[in-house]
């Protein structure tokens, strides 16, 4: 086991050589210690109950030290016409990024040009992959929206894992700060060129008081690839945070969100869909900490699982003793399209306040025979009927994306995926 730990830490030296500051160096030291103390998830690790980390460890992936920018990007990133920063194996590509015409109030830079706030929100102890990212990231995208600014155009981060002839691991890192009263939208696309590439992502999101952030993520890594991601977010008073994650790529993926509701009268929306087929394993793990009173959470996750795919949703909601008048709803639904597909849904409420309105529900089901027949009776072939019902099921999530351009781009990505899945 300690061999595996050491192997994972092989990239730390190279990363330090590429990005270093007193703040970052100290952060890395803490992260290395946390990674060693925590160790890798085992079969007995409760937080990894439904997802085995064994394939991630067995891959024995080598850290990416340098990588050449590709001529072109794969076409499966979200198609949004907006400022885009491209990460190639975790390093910012100057040539592929288009950041010339940033709207007023928006700053996008490398952590080498300023690292204030980096590492403030991401937990390390107990979270081995977040710690590993912090120990090993080669660069970080720092996005800042100035207080009071409304930025209509989204900013898009495309994180590319280059083709891996031998298994390789990279550590894309993003830090988003939305100033007081600002309004912004951020999208992430995680894509790969193929091979066994392991993207271990960490994202920090700070939404200040009165601010509004729409944060959308598409996970469409190569089908042999791995994806682990930790998003640590915090929402302030009277602020709104909307997080929408659509996972459809990778052979094994785990998207973890740790969201702290730190301000009263704030609204948080955690929405997600995971679309698996073949032998994909897609894990969605969320933790929401209601740290103050008078807050709202709306969480909906939906899974569509075909073939031998397995989907996981673990959603924990913590309501602290003083967090009165919490309004929290969580709903998780999975649709199994084959006998061999499987879903593990685990809602978990931990409520210490007494004046709260919290609900949760989790259902696993199949397509309704009555609905399929009705559609067939109107001339739709059975595959077309299935596709229409599945599309409707998932679009209920996509349709809720507040940003029009991101919503449309995500709808296109989902439909392109379904076109392949249902052909």
């Amino acid at each position: 086991m300690s061999d595996a730990l050491d192997h994972f830490l092989m990239g730390v030296g190279g990363a330090k050589a590429q990005l270093s500051s007193p703040h970052i160096d100290a952060l890395r030291d803490r992260a290395v210690a946390a990674f060693k103390a925590t160790g890798l998830p085992t079969a007995r690790t409760e937080a990894w109950k439904f997802t085995s980390a064994a394939p991630l460890i067995k891959a024995n992936a080598a850290p990416v030290v340098t990588s050449a920018d590709p001529e072109t990007l794969p076409a499966n990133a979200l198609a949004v016409d907006c400022p885009t920063v491209v990460l190639v194996d975790g390093a910012i590509s100057e040539t592929l990024s288009t950041l010339d015409n940033l709207p007023k109030g928006l700053t996008v830079r490398s952590a080498s040009a300023g690292d204030a706030g980096l590492g403030d929100l991401l937990p390390l102890e107990g979270f081995p992959f977040a710690a590993l990212n912090t120990a090993s990231f080669r660069d970080a995208v720092m996005i800042e929206v100035a207080a009071g600014q409304t930025v209509e155009t989204p900013v898009h981060i495309v994180s590319l894992s280059t083709h891996a002839k031998v298994p390789q691991i990279s550590h894309p890192r993003i830090c988003i700060k939305v100033g007081k009263g600002a309004i912004a939208a951020v999208a992430e696309s995680h894509i790969g060129e193929g091979g066994v590439s392991f993207a271990n992502v960490a994202v920090e999101v700070d939404v200040a008081d009165d601010a509004v952030l729409t944060h959308v993520k598409l996970q469409d890594e190569s089908r042999d690839g791995f994806h682990t991601a930790m998003t640590a977010s915090k929402v302030g008073e009277k602020a709104t945070y909307e997080n929408v994650v659509i996972q459809m790529g990778a052979s094994l993926a785990r998207n973890e969100i740790r969201h702290t509701i730190a301000g009263s009268h704030s609204e948080s929306r955690l929405l997600g869909a995971y679309l698996g087929d073949g032998d994909q394993h897609l894990d969605n793990t969320t933790f929401v900490d209601h740290a103050v009173a008078d807050t709202e959470l709306d969480e909906v996750y939906k899974g569509v699982l075909a073939g031998k795919a397995r989907g996981v949703f673990q959603g924990k909601i913590l309501v602290r003793p003083d967090s009165q008048r919490t309004d929290g709803n969580q709903m998780s639904r999975a649709l199994l399209l084959s006998d061999k597909a499987e879903a593990n849904l685990k809602p978990e409420l931990e409520i210490y306040a007494d004046d709260v309105k919290c609900s949760h529900g989790a259902t696993v089901g199949e397509l309704e025979e009555d609905q399929l027949f009705y559609l067939q009776a109107r001339g739709l072939s059975r595959p077309a009927a299935r596709a229409l019902l599945v599309d409707a099921f998932v679009m209920e999530i996509v349709d809720r994306i507040s940003s029009t351009s991101l919503r449309e781009a995500m709808a296109d990505a989902v439909r392109a995926h379904f076109a392949r899945m249902f052909k």
Partner: protein, 253 residues
Amino acid sequence: MPLIEIKNLHARIEDDGKEILKGIDLTIEPGEVHAIMGPNGSGKSTLSYVLSGRDGYEITEGSVMFDGVDLLEMEPDERSRAGLFLAFQYPVEIPGVTNSTFLREAVNARRKGQGEKEVDALQFVKMMREKTKKLGMSDEMLKRAVNFGFSGGEKKRNEILQMAVLEPKFAILDETDSGLDIDALKIVSDGVNSLRDPSRSMLVITHYQRLLNYIVPDKVHVMADGKIQRTGGKELAEELEASGYADYQEDAA
């Protein structure tokens, strides 16, 4: 050649083996409208489901020819594309799929099946505006999810709208009049009558003679205990209204 020819059709529920249709014989010529009346549970809806190809029934005997082909060999969607239409007794709700998407998919499935070009969005909107107006439906209903939260009467109108759009050769209306108010009954009947055509046939299942004042049938059949017990003209419906089904049920028992 008859449009539909049902011969000695026997069907049972797959799950429990219970026989519901016990030898149905029914022939409908092009252009004819037939009505079926009969007590609750006599197998009327089962017949409509078996004809439209729903799963869960086992056909143990008999045959159905539709426009010269063996209907029972076809998938439900093939039957629909071949021109068969069932207006459901209980239309199904489909949350998340708008009525207009649903109708367009249906129209295009039919067109593709006939080797025609699909309708584009604009053509479709035009076509729908015309048809909904005729049926006294608002455009609003096209934007809503299929039958989702529709009132009983709205669901029935929606069935007729689908029929009007798909222009089937043979339509089965399973209690389309149930749950309609008097005005809606008139609108729906007018909708049905406007589709009457020398090449189009209909099978109207109803409990109420009143519908048959609006949609005047060529023949009326009494179905009880999984069989056509008697066939007559439209005066048979009036007779049933007065005497009920007692005679037929005793027969069946």
